[in-house]
Each structure stands twice: as structure tokens, then as C-alpha cells.
Symmetry: none
Subunit: 388 residues, 2 copies
DNA sequence: TATACTGGTGAATCTCGGT
DNA sequence: CACCGAGATTCACCAGTAT
């Protein structure tokens, strides 16, 4: 399991397979459940046509980072500045994308489908290229991260998600696998949505080198791959990953009773992935119904009440005994006597305390009575519950 | 308010404005707070350069030239499965996208930013075109729908989100507005993420025609626009919407004390939007005050504390744990063990770091407790505020 | 043994004004 | 344009150590 296949050997082996006639004669093919060492496009071109069921691709994102970035405590952010992520221009990136996607399409069965993950740096280019090559987009899927890295300089929104595109090889190809009922059953009997919530990969799941440092800079969480594979493959299918990296795709495929093929250039990554996959124990048939992921959290912030019109800008809030009052502003902050801030900060400030729960401290007029604004949060929450 | 401006009249008016010299002579310009009737690109080309603060665009995502909206509907999918036609229509869509984005960039101030919303049918092409035109993507934002349309056929994931791209006009343009502190305060004191949760627009907010049918097929919720506008504009800014439709952008901009400009071809939509905007009551100045953080405070240099006697030459400063100490000198520098410099440089040096905020690092004795010298800066600032 | 505290870190296109 | 220096800026989670 997880043996390494130098590209030259692969070519000879595929040739010999084809000489023996129909594929079933030599099933499983020599390259199944191996990591092919070599360039992504060359390796894809060495594989037989229409031979894999799905492709999961995590290509370089082409990040364009300025200098170094420090956290507020002055510690250095360990950025992805590897050579393999550098491209000279958008044109170069597009040519690369086109080449590997074309090679993927030849290898993919007509009944197969392809997943590509990326961030705003590259995903729009990937998506447009997929369409240009007449792939047919089935969904874009949002991986919402429970614990993303913050924006340290406060100049943008916290980049809290990545995007996956799921596509079939052409508009006419309707035979792709989609385990709708299993997903629905696993999702409390409602349809699986296009936004998924998972933590990023760290802790014991994160592969570490002998130096204790992360073995790969962009290791994806197994839960994410598990949902992808459970959604769009059947047991025994072949899952190809042309940018194998730390081998998450292979590890999850093996665990879920699927075959894998990885393509990877760097020996260090191949070594880490081989050892990792060797340690994986496939699940029994009965256990293959898992991974519902995290239930969507029901955090409701104060600005949601303002944006939804339950609280209006200009409205006056008071504490339960009407000793303090504050005015709601359109930006979702509250103001009182020259001071302004969040419901929590201002509640603390007017009382001269360090902290305060603004949800229970501030009240609004409801007819003749005062009610805590927390009551309105309950309204939002029950709306959300109905919706989900 | 919300008067309609035929394109021919607009051209004459802008010409006459420019003859009068500086913009302040004719402010607000004739085209502000109006709906320009006409083709999107022609209307944009008639507006002055660098004249609007942000652009919010909800472009059509029909990939056919005919103008019918593309929906993920089986019959329409079948209609475009000819590969050549499909490629031709992508090209046409790209040319259209390029044209209106270029026209937008000329009209946008260098300190402005642009938002574009779309779904997987068009957003990848829009994003790639933005990058090709050297717009600089700041974030992609996911609008998660609480109540999306179900997927009836059970062949895909429920399409439960749309994507917005937020971009500045170039990588070098750093002056865009982002009300980070207000967003954070409104979000229970944690920074705002890139995934936003809102219901789709229905119920009483949804504009209906006399026949009781929806007036516009893709009316966006006001809450979504409110967050966009509160995040990236200041009161009094001009918000341009080149695909005005039912006028959500104009209605929210007016309510939030911003100016708007809409461009729309169809008279029915113009009529609906005009009436809608006319009924909007703008909020007052107090409600529209945007919370700001330290970055917006007046600068107070350390030597001001020394000159005003709040800190005395010879006084000893330490860090919070009394591991490092420094002596204040009369010129407003501090010295420690042969080294000297600004509070920031010396703070960095004693810790062996590249940078340090001396205001929060250095403390002074106040009775038995240590307080950061930043507390004294607040004293100066409140004195300054009283003096005004 | 349980709890509290400290330190580390993750695909990041992350300041701004003056000279 | 470049360069310089002031000084502003983080969330969730895990692991290891101290109480």
C-alpha cells in the first residue's frame, strides 16, 4: 500500500497493461494505490484515458505576499512562500491551470467528476478555466473555517473560508455519483447545503516532521475530504489527487474503502504521505456512515438585530432600572454621553466595570415593559432554526 | 430625490458642470441621487472620472446574448449544450464584463472600492476579469442564505450562498474605507468574518407589481447592502450601482446618509425603484456616526507628556513585569543600558524585536500599581477635546 | 487529579503619513 | 517614486506547564 511509482516505471507498466487487452485482465492496475513521483501533467499523461472516478485537486494558490507579517505580539506569521507556489504572471498561472485540467479530463471517466479547492487568489481563474474547457460546474462549495487565522492589521474582513468547485467533465455528462440520500440522512434529514463548517487541520491530525514543524504548509482536514469522497464516490472507486502533498486524499480514500492515486514531485511529501497512508486502517462496511461535520453555530451578534430591523438606529436602550441609557447607531454600536462602543464595552463603561454582558444589561421598551435585548436574539435564533 | 436622468441630458449636464471649473462649484453634481436611464457602459462613460466612492454591482449572469436570465433549469441547460455556442457566449460575457468594469474603474476614485455579487454561473469570470484589469481583490465574501431554494432533483448540493468580491482599483491603492472598529464592535467585539448570514429578500420587503408578482427577479436584501455600505463608506459618500434594478442600493444608501447613483435600462424597474426610494427616510446624524479606533485619534508624541509635566525627565519607566527599565530624558527620548531612542525603538531593542508599541509597553509607577504611559496620552487627548 | 495559565500557530495577496 | 519611523494590530484551539 502506498508504494511509490517513478514516472518512467509507470509508463512501461501502463503500456504492458494495455497490451494485455481489456482492463479487467489487470485489475487493479499497477498504478492504483500508489504515489506517482513526477510532474503533475506528465504523470497524468502517462495514465490511461477514462480510468479514474473522481479527481480532488488542491493546486498552488499563487499567493502574492508582500513582505513579512507579524502578529500583534510581534511573532512572525509562517507564510506559504514555497517555490512551488510562485508564478511569473496570471498568464503563466492560467497556462499551468489549463494544462493540468486538460490532462485531468482525459483521465477522468465520463461518469466522473472533479473537485478543485482554492482561495480568492486563484479560484476565479480556476473556475473560468474550467468553464472555458467545457467542464460543467455542479456546485461551488464553501468551506467555512471554525478557526481561521485573524486579519492582524484590521484592514480587511477575516478571511474565514475557502472555495471548492465541483464539476462534471461536460454539460452532457449526467452519470456522476452523488449520494444525495446518504448526505441528507447524515444531515438531520435536510439537504446538504453548499456551505460546510469544519476546523482547519491542526493538533494531532497535523503531520509533523522530525523537527516538530509541520510537514506540509497546507494540509487539508480529513473531515473535508471525507465529505467530498462520501458525497461523490462509491466504495471501490478510484480517487486521483494530482497535487498529493501530505496525502490527505489518499488517507481518507483508504479509510473509506476507495482506491487512490497520488501525484507528487517532492520526495519529502511523498515520504510523509506514504507513512501516513500505511498507518490507515480501512473502515468496515457498516462504519461508512459518518461525518456530519460541525452543526452550524448559532452565534448572533448585535449588528444582526440592527440589520434585520428588530432594533432601529436611533432607538434608546436602558438598563433594567433605567439608570443608564444609550442610543443605537446604524453601525451596530451604541453611544451614551460622548462614549461609544459595543453593547458590552459601553455597558461596562457606564457602570465603571471591566466587563459587562450587553445582551442582558441593555433593555428596550416593549409597550409598557422593559425587555432585555437578548429576547430579540432569541427571535433571530428561532427564525434560523426554522430555516435550517 | 430619485429623479430620473435620461442619458442625453446627463451628458449635457456633466459638460456644463465641467465648464464651471472645480467640482465644489456644482456640488452635489446634477447626477447625484438620480437614476440614469440608459445602457450601463454608455452611462458610465458619461460620468466624470474619479467621482464615486464605491460601486456595488449585481450584473446579469445570463450567458446567452438574448437577455433571458440563466437559471439552473434543465431546459435551459439543454439549450446551451452545443460546445461552440457555449464558448462563444462565454467570450461575449467576458467582453461585456470587461467593458463595464473598465468603465467603472474610470469613474471610481483611487480611494474607492468595488463590490460585485454573483453565483457560480458568472462569478469566476467576473473575478478573473477583475484580476486581469489589475483590480486588487481585498476579500471574497460569502452571503449564506438562511432560506435558500431547495434543490428539487436531488442531484446536487443545495445552492445556499452567493459570492461577493470586494476589490480596490489597484494593488497600490491603499486608501479605501474600511470601518474595521465599527464592524468589530457591532459583531460582539470580534472581527467580522468573510461569511455573512442573511435571509433572502421576501415578505414585505419584496417589491411587488400591481399583479402581485415580484417586481424584480433578483432583488437583494437590504440588510446585505447595509453591511456593505456601512463597512466600506463614510456618511456623505457616493454609491454607484450600474445595474440598479429594484433600487435596493439606492434605498439603503439614502437611509444611511449616503448619496447614490443608479443606472438602469428598463423603465419598469426605474419606476419601482423611484417610488421605493422616495419613501425612504434618512437617519439622523447621531445615528450615523461611525465608531472609530485608535488609528483615527489625533497623534500625541511622547515629548508632549514630558513638556506638559505628566512625565518628568529622570523618571523611570518599566514594562508591565518590571523586567526592563528605562530613564526618561528631557528631549523625549528614553535610555537604557547605553542604548537610547524613542519609546518604540528602545522598547523593541530591549526585547530584541523588530518593532514595539512603546505606549503600551512602557509603564510608570502610580502609587503601588503600574500603569501604561498610554493612560497619560488619553489625558492629553481629553484635554485637547475639551479645548475645542 | 483537576484546573488555570502560558505559549504557539494556521494558504495572508494585512499601515500610513511625511520627507 | 522610495525611504523612514511612529505606532496599531488577533481568534480559536491545542499542548505543555504550573498551581
Amino acid at each position: 500500500m502506498a508504494s511509490v511509482f517513478p514516472l518512467a516505471d509507470l509508463k512501461a507498466s501502463v503500456k504492458s497493461d494495455s497490451r494485455q487487452g481489456s482492463r479487467s485482465d489487470s485489475w487493479p492496475a499497477s498504478w492504483v494505490d500508489t504515489i506517482i513521483k513526477g510532474d503533475c501533467v506528465s504523470a497524468l499523461e502517462a495514465l490511461p484515458s477514462h480510468s479514474v472516478d473522481i479527481i480532488f485537486a488542491d493546486p498552488p494558490y499563487n499567493l502574492q505576499l508582500g513582505g513579512t507579517l507579524h502578529r500583534p505580539d510581534q511573532s512572525l506569521v509562517d507564510a506559504v512562500d514555497d517555490e512551488w507556489d510562485q508564478f511569473a504572471s496570471f498568464e503563466a498561472y492560467d497556462a499551468f491551470t489549463r494544462a493540468w485540467l486538460l490532462a485531468c479530463r482525459r483521465v477522468l471517466k465520463p461518469t466522473g467528476s472533479i473537485w478543485v479547492i482554492g482561495s480568492y487568489h486563484n479560484i476565479f481563474r480556476v473556475g473560468a478555466t474550467l468553464q472555458d474547457l467545457n467542464f460543467w460546474i455542479l456546485n461551488d462549495i464553501i468551506w467555512r473555517k471554525t478557526n481561521p487565522m485573524p486579519n492582524f492589521k484590521g484592514r480587511r474582513f477575516q478571511n474565514a473560508h475557502e472555495t471548492m468547485i465541483w464539476a462534471s467533465p461536460s454539460a452532457k455528462a449526467k452519470g456522476y455519483t452523488f449520494n444525495y440520500d446518504a448526505l441528507k440522512a447524515a444531515n438531520d434529514d435536510v439537504q446538504m447545503r453548499s456551505d460546510w463548517l469544519f476546523p482547519i487541520c491542526n493538533g494531532s491530525e497535523r503531520l509533523k516532521g522530525e523537527d516538530g514543524k509541520k510537514a506540509h504548509p497546507t494540509q487539508k482536514p480529513e473531515a473535508l475530504l471525507a465529505r467530498v469522497i462520501m458525497a461523490s464516490t462509491k466504495p471501490g472507486d478510484i480517487v486521483l489527487d494530482p497535487f498529493f502533498g501530505s496525502g490527505t486524499t489518499g488517507a481518507v480514500a483508504k479509510r473509506l474503502g476507495r482506491h487512490f492515486v497520488g501525484i507528487e514531485r517532492e520526495q519529502d511529501y511523498i515520504d510523509a504521505a506514504s507513512a501516513r497512508i500505511a498507518a490507515v486502517e480501512p473502515l468496515g462496511k457498516a462504519e461508512l456512515t459518518v461525518m456530519t461535520g460541525k452543526k452550524a453555530e448559532v452565534r448572533v451578534a448585535f449588528n444582526v438585530l440592527v440589520e434585520s430591523g428588530l432594533i432601529n438606529p436611533g432607538q434608546v436602550l436602558t438598563d433594567a432600572k433605567r439608570r443608564y441609557s444609550a442610543i443605537v447607531r446604524a453601525d451596530g454600536t451604541v453611544a451614551s454621553g460622548g462614549e461609544a462602543g459595543s453593547i458590552h464595552r459601553l455597558g461596562a463603561k457606564v457602570q465603571g466595570l471591566d466587563a459587562c454582558n450587553g445582551w442582558t444589561f441593555w433593555h428596550f421598551e416593549d409597550g409598557q415593559s422593559l425587555r432585555p435585548i437578548d429576547d430579540l436574539r432569541s427571535v433571530i435564533r428561532s427564525d434560523l432554526a426554522k430555516a435550517e
